[in-house]
């Protein structure tokens, strides 16, 4: 099936928002989605964007039963490693179920890695990069030789997809755990900070 991967435009935010919800449903966490397409427009298309996004679209003759031609996305942003410098982190990679198995996910990831390489992210040829996902072209263009991402432990299709591309589980291998301060715990800590 022919498809195209391109940078998202502001007008794509409604589709991106739709697919974010679809991915959350897939991960069994739909009630955790609080962002609207207006939030995405503000946060991704202002002078100082907090993320970048690539979308995959198919020709009209392959549109979904609801009439959508945008069938996948990869959302990523730039991070910083104190060891290696600039990095790319792929936050979300999603292809609608009916469009899987056709190279769209791989195509999206390839574009992200490419961007990373161009951006001078970690130019150490000996570095074994981490997959922070979304990168194929992004990472390479920004010279990010590191791509990292995180996957839920029960998500076997995704685990298989990434492992087939060479991904290594750093949580298993090196013991890295994700922690967070969220909501009330963040507010409690913040209230104790010294005044400006």
């Amino acid at each position: 099936m022919h498809f195209k991967v391109r940078a998202a435009a502001k007008e794509d935010c409604k589709d991106i928002s739709r697919m974010i919800m679809e991915l959350a449903v897939y991960e069994n966490m739909p009630d955790q989605v609080k962002t609207s397409h207006e939030d995405l427009e503000r946060d991704g298309f202002s002078p100082n964007p907090f993320y970048e996004c690539l979308i995959a679209e198919v020709p009209d003759e392959h549109k979904t039963k609801d009439g959508y031609t945008v069938v996948g996305y990869a959302l990523y942003f730039y991070t910083y490693s104190t060891w290696k410098g600039r990095s790319v982190y792929m936050e979300d990679l999603y292809v609608m179920p009916d469009f899987r198995g056709k190279g769209i996910g791989t195509g999206l990831m390839a574009k992200v890695a490419q961007v990373g390489f161009m951006f001078h992210c970690m130019a150490d040829p000996n570095w074994n990069s981490s997959i922070y996902l979304p990168c194929s072209l992004v990472g390479v263009e920004k010279q990010c030789v590191r791509l990292q991402l995180s996957v839920l432990d029960w998500n076997k299709p995704s685990l298989d997809f990434y492992i087939a591309k060479g991904a290594e589980d750093l949580t298993a291998k090196e013991g890295w755990h994700f922690l967070r301060f969220h909501g009330q715990t963040l507010d409690t800590l913040a209230k104790e900070a010294p005044k400006d």
Partner: protein, 173 residues
């Protein structure tokens, strides 16, 4: 009790920041993995487009050394994005030199980071910790941190450069 001050890092702090980055890497047994230079840190943190933000902790110098204060701790962070909840503050590095621990410096740094997160409209502060680093895990859990790897099953993955190059030079659509 110890007299200390926490402030925003300035470009003149770059040599100290790199020194502390290497000390933290040594603490994690990964000292040889630091390839960042002072030039990189200067360009990436204090140029037109900062890739990170940094705060430092300093103490007054010893009588016998130079007159300025000494930087003995730092935290490096940047903003990331969660498509479900929006802007986040990501804590990349956080370190206080061993001889200055136990005086509340780390606590004050964490409070200031949390305040920054709330002030800049972030709904959460995220970071990673190696499971072998029990001292740090306890420090964070005492203050209310949740372990998402345990609670929700998130695992961190990496893909190496040769695999990335293979992906990026793959067939065009």
């Amino acid at each position: 009790m110890i007299d200390f001050k926490i402030r925003k890092a300035e470009s003149k702090d770059v040599p100290d920041i790199l020194r502390l980055i290497k000390e933290l890497a040594k603490y994690e047994d990964m000292e040889d993995q630091v390839i960042l230079t002072e030039k990189d840190l200067l360009e990436d943190g204090f140029g037109d487009h900062p890739f990170y933000h940094c705060i430092v902790a300093e103490v007054p110098s010893e009588k016998q050394s130079n007159n300025g204060p000494v930087v003995i701790g730092f935290a490096m962070y940047y903003f990331t994005y969660d498509p479900w909840i929006g802007k986040l503050l990501y804590l990349e590095d956080f370190f206080v030199m061993e001889e200055y621990r136990g005086f509340g410096i780390g606590s004050e740094i964490l409070k200031l980071l949390s305040h920054t997160a709330v002030k800049t409209r972030c709904s959460s502060m995220h970071f990673i910790v190696a499971e072998g680093n029990q001292a740090s895990i306890e420090f964070y859990k005492r203050r209310g941190a949740a372990d998402l790897s345990l609670e929700e099953g998130w695992r961190l993955f990496k893909i190496d450069k040769s695999s990335l190059l293979k992906m990026s030079s793959g067939p065009e659509e």
